[in-house]
Structures are given as structure tokens and as C-alpha cells.
């Protein structure tokens, strides 16, 4: 009797009726998975120091997030993985040489994590409300506060266990200070330079060096439809064109776009930083402009600015414009009638 009654019961609910099984935490953990190849290559090239720095960032990000949520009495949202992802991205944006006890620089990743999680993300309202990319603000804070420690780059080591490493300049640093001829000389010839850049066998932040590993991760996200092509393609395309037109010393159209695309944080920035859902526009046309703006500002800083690398500041500047761009390209409501004011325009 009971059973038949239940069969005829109607379920009344409000829309949406068809639900996707995608959740925030699933997206976050998938992005973490996509970052794994680049992280592993970082550990391969920079040794255990890279592992320790990244682990420190992840650990302190998760701890700061749960502490903050406890203090303000919010329901714990640590399980959604966003704090973990911020920590992972932050760690991959720092040089492995920060794991050093004399001079003592181990506090830098911890303070950067605090700035990223508490100040940039939670004080603005938590996940979904932050204006700027938390990991990048954490890195910018560290770079401006400790410029010396944040620009000591290790030479990639052959052995993972090696804790002592020579320091060197990044390819972009050499390009800025001594020009392209010197850069090619350091790596042997041009083909060898490209090979080193592609594999990630060069000085730089932990997770930014290996172009091939970052491409695998980025294309995986594209295949899973977690990101669209608009931001990365506009970002890299604009940067490549500007590098080709203005990047050369012998005049216009003599630059080498490949060196610029494969060095610095270009790949990590274009695939993983600029595509952050919260801090980038969601309209397709707005995303194209957002990406192009990131690319143009990056190249402006690299070619004309004081820093050898500009991806971080370019993305942070464009983050400010994300809400504005979304408003400018708002989609038309189906069947909406123009108001008298709009017709007059």
C-alpha cells in the first residue's frame, strides 16, 4: 500500500531541474591535477627545495584559510580545494632558492600565503568575491617586499637530492641585460636554446619553466572544457605579435616571438593564472580583450619596463578591468525591447 502511494507521488521543485555533477571542488582538484606535470618538472629540475617550497605554501594556505574561517565563524570550506589550489599556484610561482636558512628566507612563502588567502581572498568575501588573483597578489607582495631574495634563481640541477646549487640569471634577465646574442651563447646555439626552454631546463620559478608540461596541463583543461581557448590564445597571440614586431634590436619585424612565449611565466600565466574563473571576464568577447590586454601589458613591461618579467603585473592590472569588460559585453536578453533612451543613442 505504502509503496504504490509513493509511486504516484509527484515531485514538485523549482528550476533548474537538470543538474550538472560538476562542483567547485571537482573543478579545483582537476586544475590541481592539470598542474601536476609542471610541478613534477619543477621538482625534477630544482630538486627537493622546489618540493619543500610548494608544500610549505600549500600547507600554510590551507591552515590560514581554516584559521580565518574559524575566527569569523563561517562554515569551513577548506574541502573545496580552492585554498589548496591557491597555495599550489603560489608555490609554483616562487623561486626554489627561497628554501634557505642562511640568509633565512623560509618565512617569505608563509607571509605570501597569508597575504594571498586572508587579505586578497577572505577579506574580500571569500571564494568568488576576490577582485585579484590571490596567488599573484601573494607573489607581488613578496617580490616588492624582498626583491633580493625573490630574484635568486638556481641553475637546474641533474640530481633531485642536491641541496646546494649555483645561481644564475633567468633567460629573460639575460635578454634584458645583455641581449639576445649573449642568450644564444649561454645555451650553445638557437636550437639548443629552444630545446632547453621547451623542456624547462632553465632558471626560473618552480612551476613556470617547463613549456611542454604546462601545455599538457593547459590542453587537458581545454579538453575537459574547464577553460575556453579565448584567454590563452589572445594572451599568447598578442604577446607573440608584439614580440615579433617590436622585440628585435635591428628594427621592426626582427623580434623572436618564440623566446618570449617560452620564457618567464608566460605559459603558466596564460593557461592557469589569467583563466581563473573569479578574476577574469566570463563573456567570450570580453575574454578576448582581457587576454589581449594581458599579452600587450606583459610585452610592454618586458620590453620597456624596469622588470625583466611582466606577466604577473599584466594579469593583476587586467583583473581590475574584468568586471568592466563583462558589463561592456553583456549578452542581449532574448525578446527584450529597447527603451526610448537606448533608441535615442
Amino acid at each position: 500500500m505504502e509503496a504504490t502511494k509513493k509511486e504516484h507521488e509527484l515531485i514538485v521543485s523549482v528550476s533548474p531541474h537538470v543538474k550538472s555533477d560538476e562542483t567547485t571542488s571537482r573543478i579545483m582538484w582537476t586544475v590541481c591535477l592539470a598542474l601536476l606535470p609542471a610541478f613534477l618538472s619543477g621538482v625534477y629540475f630544482f630538486g627537493l627545495k622546489a618540493l619543500f617550497i610548494t608544500a610549505l605554501c600549500v600547507l600554510s594556505s590551507v591552515i590560514f584559510e581554516s584559521l580565518y574561517l574559524k575566527v569569523v565563524d563561517k562554515k569551513s570550506a577548506v574541502g573545496d580545494g580552492s585554498g589548496f589550489l591557491t597555495g599550489l599556484l603560489l608555490g609554483m610561482n616562487l623561486p626554489a632558492s627561497l628554501w634557505s636558512f642562511s640568509p633565512f628566507t623560509v618565512h617569505i612563502p608563509i607571509i605570501a600565503s597569508f597575504v594571498a588567502i586572508v587579505i586578497t581572498k577572505q577579506l574580500f568575501g571569500g571564494l568568488g568575491y576576490n577582485v585579484f588573483n590571490p596567488a599573484l597578489i601573494g607573489r607581488a607582495f613578496a617580490l616588492i617586499s624582498w626583491p633580493r631574495a625573490m630574484t635568486i634563481w638556481m641553475t637546474p640541477t641533474a640530481s633531485i637530492l642536491a641541496m646546494d646549487a649555483k645561481t644564475t640569471a633567468t633567460p629573460l634577465g639575460i635578454l634584458k641585460e645583455e641581449g639576445i646574442a649573449k642568450l644564444i651563447e649561454v645555451f650553445g646555439d638557437k636550437v639548443s636554446l629552444y630545446e632547453h626552454l621547451l623542456a624547462g631546463n632553465r632558471a626560473g620559478s618552480i612551476g613556470e619553466t617547463s613549456v611542454i608540461a604546462l601545455l599538457i596541463g593547459g590542453l587537458f583543461l581545454l579538453y575537459k572544457k574547464y577553460i575556453t581557448w579565448h584567454i590563452p590564445v589572445a594572451f599568447l597571440g598578442t604577446a607573440a605579435v608584439i614580440a615579433w614586431v617590436f622585440g628585435g634590436k635591428e628594427g621592426v619585424l626582427t623580434g623572436d616571438p618564440l623566446i618570449h612565449l617560452m620564457s618567464g611565466g608566460m605559459m603558466l600565466g596564460a593557461w592557469f593564472m589569467a583563466t581563473d574563473y573569479v578574476t577574469s571576464p566570463s563573456m567570450r568577447k570580453a575574454q578576448l580583450i582581457f587576454g589581449a590586454g594581458c599579452g600587450a601589458l606583459t610585452m610592454l613591461i618586458r620590453l620597456k619596463g624596469g622588470f625583466p618579467e611582466g606577466v604577473m603585473f599584466a594579469i593583476l592590472i587586467m583583473n581590475c578591468f574584468a568586471p568592466l569588460l563583462d558589463r561592456g559585453f553583456r549578452s542581449k536578453v532574448f525578446g527584450a525591447v529597447k527603451t526610448a533612451k537606448e533608441i535615442k543613442k
Binding site: P103, T105, S145, P147
Partner: protein, 222 residues
């Protein structure tokens, strides 16, 4: 705004320090609070200058309130304010020339402080001498307190030291951290961080104190 003699003088002073703190509550005069607060000494001198101007302006306006024609009151207020700012600037140049070289530009800008004109217009021109002086004192102390806290925090975190004016030829500089303090905090961008963090802290403490006071006066009714 609190008006007329219903409020005691002590409460009038406290109002400017806590309830209507220029920087932490009203978020006015943020320009000097970021521009001059990268060392404790500059913060104290700037705060002191504002305290002096605020008290003197409130006193003068209150004394003149019955002879100022309402139609021309704002130009007169401005004249009084710029007069006292000039006095401050001359005093500063005579007594502490090297501080004047650093914060002198911002001393001149006190003329344009919204908080000073607002107190003259809303309070001093409507109240008698003693409440007006109390109000000016409270507002000025509130500003001095805010600037001192901000510059204390910024210099300690950003340089790892504290510069305390001693009145002698050289200031006493306490140094706490010799290696790598947070450089960003003494840069202009760090000023926004400092003001934001301290503002949040100030309001948090006040909210807690208010909640405690409310719990004391009205015990839970159940």
C-alpha cells in the same frame, strides 16, 4: 551629529577619538595618513599639527559664531583655517626644520582637510566655547592617535625600527629587526594595507566593546 550641551565635555572628547574617529570611522583625510606615515616621527608631528589646527579653529569659530553672516560663513571658515595652518607651518619651520622639510607640503594641505571644515561648520559654529574646544580636542586626538598607530605599525613592519623624536639634535632610533623587514609596508601601496588592517582592527575592538556594554546594561530577557 551630537549637538548642544546635552553631552558632557568628556563624552564630547571621546566622541572624536572613538565614535567619529576621522580616519578609522569616517575614512576622511586618508591622503596624509598614507603619505607621511612611513616613520613614527613624521606621523606624530603631522598628527600634532592637525590637533593644534583643529582646536584653534574650533575655538576661533565658536567665539566668532554670532558675528559671522551665514551667507559668507564658508569663506570666513576657510580664512580662519588657513590662518591657523600658516601659524602651524611657521612654528614647525622654526622648531623642527628637518621634519618640516619632509611633511611641510602636507601641513599646507591641512587647509583642505574635510574633517576640519566639517567640524567648524557642523559643530563650532553652533556651539559655545567649551564644547567646541572639547570637540576640537577629541577630533584632533583621534587623528593623532590614528596617525601614530599607522606610522608605528608601518615603520616597525617596513623598516624594523622606530624613530622617536627626543627634542635633541638626533632622534632615537630603536632597531628591532636587522634582516629583511617587509619593504612594501613603507612604500605607498603598503600604506593602504596598513590603514585597511588597522581600520578593521579598530572597528573589531569597538564592536566587541559595544556588544559587551550592551550585554551588561540589558541582561538577556528569558
Amino acid at each position: 551629529m551630537s549637538s548642544h550641551s546635552t553631552v558632557s565635555l568628556k563624552d564630547q572628547v571621546l566622541n572624536g577619538i572613538i565614535k567619529e574617529n576621522t580616519i578609522f570611522k569616517l575614512a576622511l583625510s586618508l591622503c596624509p595618513s598614507i603619505a607621511v606615515t612611513n616613520s613614527l616621527k613624521n606621523g606624530i608631528f603631522m598628527g600634532g599639527a592637525v590637533l593644534f589646527v583643529q582646536v584653534m579653529v574650533n575655538t576661533t569659530i565658536s567665539l566668532m559664531r554670532n558675528v559671522i553672516h551665514p551667507k559668507v560663513r564658508l569663506p570666513i571658515f576657510m580664512l580662519v583655517i588657513s590662518g591657523w595652518v600658516t601659524v602651524t607651518q611657521m612654528l614647525m619651520a622654526a622648531l623642527a626644520p628637518e621634519v618640516n622639510a619632509k611633511v611641510g607640503l602636507y601641513i599646507a594641505l591641512i587647509v583642505a582637510f574635510a574633517s576640519i571644515l566639517a567640524r567648524a561648520e557642523m559643530f563650532a559654529s553652533k556651539n559655545s566655547l567649551l564644547p567646541s574646544m572639547a570637540d576640537g580636542l577629541g577630533m584632533g586626538i583621534g587623528f593623532l592617535f590614528a596617525l601614530t598607530t599607522i606610522s608605528f605599525f608601518r615603520e616597525l613592519v617596513g623598516k624594523g625600527s622606530l624613530t622617536v623624536p627626543t627634542g635633541l639634535a638626533t632622534d632615537h632610533v630603536f632597531t628591532f629587526i636587522n634582516t629583511k623587514p617587509v619593504l612594501l609596508m613603507i612604500l605607498p601601496a603598503g600604506g593602504f594595507f596598513a590603514v585597511g588592517i588597522l581600520m578593521a582592527g579598530f572597528n573589531w575592538i569597538n564592536a566587541r566593546a559595544a556588544a559587551k556594554a550592551a550585554a551588561k546594561t540589558a541582561p538577556a530577557a528569558h
